[in-house]
């Protein structure tokens, strides 16, 4: 009873679109590391603070975001803001989430393209790249634990690694093979 009062449908209109834009802009500006890092921040803003949707609705929106291809942060912004304010909401949410990184990267690109040969800049990337490699390595290891529980999954993983690394199979082809495999050989 009380819950229905707390999670009122927000009043539709331009003010709500602007509010959505600013909320996602803020989330986009302060979450470092991309999609998965954003999830708890988005939940806090739109469920706890703004009360635009119920926690269980947010979980559904997260499931939608994860089942589509593309940028996870954009997907979450689109699915949840569509729920809150329709297609305009989705547009404002997605643009708000993307704009901070867009602006920051343009500034860095201007700097980097001028200073690429600087000894300190080059040295920094020389040292940081091995750390990023290990980051990817650990991400892959963690994903193996979470995802590959059965033999069929192990088969796709090994075949995929062999094809992608050993034979230079195009990633789009690899995804399509995985789709066909999933649709026809999984129970």
């Amino acid at each position: 009873m009380q819950e229905e009062k707390i999670y009122d449908q927000p009043t539709p209109g331009k003010r709500l679109w602007w509010d959505i834009f600013l909320t996602f802009f803020k989330i986009g500006a302060f979450t470092i590391g991309g999609g998965y890092v954003m999830v708890p921040f988005i939940e806090k803003e739109i469920v706890e603070k703004k009360k635009w949707m119920k926690p269980e609705e947010f979980l559904d929106m997260l499931a939608i975001a994860q089942s589509a291809p593309g940028v996870l942060a954009t997907n979450i912004a689109v699915s949840s803001c569509y729920q809150i304010a329709g297609i305009p909401g989705a547009v404002f949410g997605a643009l708000g989430a993307a704009l901070p990184s867009f602006m920051i990267i343009i500034i860095i690109a201007m700097f980097l393209l001028n200073f690429q040969d600087n000894r300190y800049v080059a040295g920094f990337f020389y040292g940081a790249a091995p750390a990023v490699t290990m980051l990817l390595f650990l991400a892959a290891i963690n994903m193996v634990k979470g995802v590959v529980k059965e033999r069929a999954g192990m088969f796709v993983l090994v075949l995929g690694l062999l094809g992608l690394i050993g034979f230079g199979v195009h990633p789009i082809l690899a995804i399509l093979i995985a789709v066909v495999f999933g649709a026809f050989f999984y129970k």
Binding site: G34, A65, I105, A128
Partner: protein, 173 residues
């Protein structure tokens, strides 16, 4: 024409990336480096490094950077909108018919197939990046050190990257 090319390429990247930003790296390599020669592999690794230290998703960061380097501000805009557009449309479509979509058994099975392939893509991304990052004794030592620190301490990802970068400045040949 370059701008249209950027849009189409990043549209394709957005359409076929499952499993987050890291899984997108092999596709970026094929399209951006091998086919269009917009970046070198080591430049791409630099942008991935920057992505880990700045806000926002890797895919948006890479699209913006590649677009800006290739065709200035307009290029950045086209590449970024291109990478966002496919999922924008698909997510809207799913959100509209979520209740039906949820119950389709084939959807569940397809994702069971895609998930292990996403792991393979991240594995192959590791391999790709290692080719330009692990180039001498110093970088291999930094990698081993980072692995230990990432695994056994609570230092943040960004902290580890910055420390590794400082070691890089000191050891740079």
């Amino acid at each position: 024409m370059e701008i249209l090319e950027l849009f189409i390429t990043f549209f394709k990247i957005g359409l076929f990336s499952f499993g987050g930003g890291y899984a997108m790296i092999p596709l970026m390599e094929k399209e951006v480096i091998n086919i269009h020669h917009w970046l070198s592999l080591s430049e791409m690794v630099d942008v991935i490094t920057i992505s880990q230290m700045t806000p926002g998703p890797i895919a948006i960061n890479l699209a913006t950077f590649v677009g800006f380097k290739t065709a200035g501000f307009g290029g950045a805009l086209c590449a970024t909108l291109g990478v966002m557009l496919p999922s924008f449309v698909i997510v809207l479509f799913i959100a509209r018919s979520y209740e039906k979509f949820k119950e389709l058994d084939v959807v569940r099975r397809v994702f069971q197939g895609i998930r292990p392939m996403a792991v393979a893509l991240v594995g192959s991304a590791t391999f790709l990046v290692a080719q330009t990052s692990l180039i001498d004794v110093n970088t291999i030592l930094i990698a081993l050190g980072s692995l230990l620190v990432l695994k056994f301490t609570k230092i943040s990802l960004m902290g580890v990257i910055i420390i590794a970068g400082v070691f890089g400045i000191i050891l740079y040949p």
